[in-house]
Point group: C2
Chain length 362, copies 2
């Protein structure tokens, strides 16, 4: 994550993984989730915070989820229905479950199918926010599989190249593969220039947006460095930004996501499905179906070794590959705790008092 998204040092409160897990799970249980689901949803959020992906951890997301449960927009005890199923595929209706509650189960099923058939995929319609996408393909790599995941997240944020109206959400894509000696490759990006949650983080932190990240409400690219406007006061550009700089590539990948998650699941295009009905596509590919796992991992090690030990260009300390910083950050945060903004810790303690949950952070 870019430095602009980090919590300023003077506002940091370090909280142990264990404490934030306890607190988060207590809140999910209070919202009506089952023990298993509360534990699962908590894990997605805490793994996100451990990896330094604060934008998708408890800070930004948990209070939104609480609001959505309270407004009845999320169903804490969903009756997830299988609409179609084969040896390699399934389509689920999530019954308006939170995405981080139902998504991991879908990836478990994809992994099970890939274990038996070589490849497994599940398309989910009708769910809430899916959290840090990296979580899902990371589940696959633990089984010597390649995993990938896409989420169609409404249609009110991202404008197509040359377009004046938003049609897509941030429509993220994540992909992961296991190595042997090196930290796994774990890639997770929005198809917009930046994740929407990160824009909100800049507001808490007081940093600026880059030129070419957002558009006016008429779709005209904002080419100056500006403060993040309020939600509803801007749209977002696909990654790449302008056409000359490859904005059509971000736009194309956003469309792929709308097709693979939104349309293939039967949820429909994001701009029709709307804010409350996200959709997800997860796939697991058994490496052994194509090549020996040992050869695969040794080859991936060679690539990751080459990337991470290469001499950097001027002004840079090091060359990273996707997932490397997050892997190192996880080790550090498991030891030292997770640095939350003090305002987030206050929120946790406020809700603990309000709902008589009996915890106090840090």
């Amino acid at each position: 994550m870019l430095k602009r998204f980090l919590v300023p040092e003077e506002d940091r409160v370090f909280v142990s993984e264990e404490s934030v897990r306890y607190a988060t799970q207590a809140i999910f249980l209070e919202m009506g989730l089952s023990e298993r689901d509360a534990e699962q949803a908590t894990d997605v959020l805490v793994v996100s915070d451990l990896r330094g992906c604060e934008s998708h951890g408890v800070s930004n997301m948990l209070r939104n989820y609480v609001h959505e449960y309270r407004r009845g927009e999320l169903n804490p005890k969903p009756n997830v229905k299988t609409l179609r199923e084969s040896a390699v595929s399934a389509t689920w209706d999530a019954d308006q479950a939170l995405g981080i509650q139902v998504g991991p189960r879908a990836m478990e099923l994809a992994i099970e199918k890939a274990g038996e058939s070589g490849i497994g995929a599940v398309a989910i319609r009708n769910c809430g926010h899916v959290g840090m996408l990296a979580y899902y393909p990371m589940m696959a790599i633990a089984h010597d599989m390649i995993g990938f995941c896409m989420v169609s997240a409404g249609g009110a944020l991202q404008v197509p190249v040359f377009g004046s109206e938003p049609v897509f959400g941030t429509n993220p894509i994540a992909w992961a593969a296991p190595a042997d000696k090196h930290a796994p490759f774990v890639f997770d990006v929005a198809t917009t220039q930046v994740a929407a949650n990160k824009l909100m983080l800049t507001r808490r932190i007081g940093s600026k947006l880059e030129p070419g990240w957002i558009t006016t409400l008429e779709g005209e690219p904002v080419m100056e460095s500006v403060d993040s406007p309020d939600y509803g006061g801007f749209h977002m550009l696909p990654f790449g930004g302008t056409r000359e700089n490859g904005g059509h590539k971000g736009y194309g990948f956003a469309t792929i996501v709308d097709i693979m998650a939104g349309i293939l699941s039967g949820n429909g295009p994001g701009f029709i499905a709307g804010r409350l009905h996200h959709s997800q596509f997860v796939m697991a590919i058994k490496i052994d179906s194509f090549v020996d796992v040992e050869i695969f991992k040794a080859d991936l090690d060679k690539l990751l070794e080459k990337l991470s030990t290469m001499k950097p260009t001027k002004g840079h300390d090091r060359v990273y590959y996707a997932g490397l910083i997050e892997h190192e950050e996880t080790a550090l945060r498991k030891k030292e705790g997770i640095p939350y903004h003090r305002e987030v810790v206050d929120w946790f303690n406020g809700i603990s008092d309000e709902l008589k949950l009996g915890f106090s952070l840090p």
Copy 2:
């Protein structure tokens, strides 16, 4: 394709699809390919030219292929071996066949497997140039499937973000899905800022490269507008360009391609496999495994309708989606012929004389 890549009007010679097919096939037959393979390889090139994707049509590619056959780098009569196979997957060693000769067969097999099992994928190691990637997923959409394809194309061109050495080729990705009333979604991009072939096109055409497209041989981004240097005089940046503008996204997708095509096929990372040993991954997904084909196509129509009829931003005539221009261009070129640079037509007629092939264009 951007205007800078088009043949200038005064240099255009229009050739009918039929004539260029005949000429190209005659050359492939002379190189030693079987009738079936010559016809197949010709189709990939001519479909590329019909779509206006000149960079991957006969102009740039055919003379390279001829050189590679003559130098013995390509095997015109390959003994393609199946190394591993399941109901949903296969791994092939292409025996140094030209990619456009073996790739379509691999996609045929993926489609056959997807027809029976729901999903089918083939990884191919040890092949030559794979041509316009869009060709492969376009094969899938004719069967009411979603198709995608990735190619690891050596490791001598693309530098990682902050990196000083090239590790990847242009490592392109293509993805396609069928609609009902609208032209299909067909997405095909290099994970570099621009396809290497397009840089060579700018040399013939005399247009400039944009800032942030290439790097020096030390990996430092060239941030001015320059003429394209010779091959060997530059490296290329991942799409996005700088880190702030999302270069890590292009870099991540390039790595995915090296994993899915290079490492999963057993070809190895591109930087080890080298210039002559490309690798490919193709996948077909049967729509009907997840949702009714009619619902899928109707939903995709709604999305494509929304995109292509939206009011454009200032200075633009129209909003396009991936594949729309190419679909329209194909209709036009099938009627009016394909506008080649006169130098390309001269080359065809030269080789016809040299090898006594008996054709004369246009």
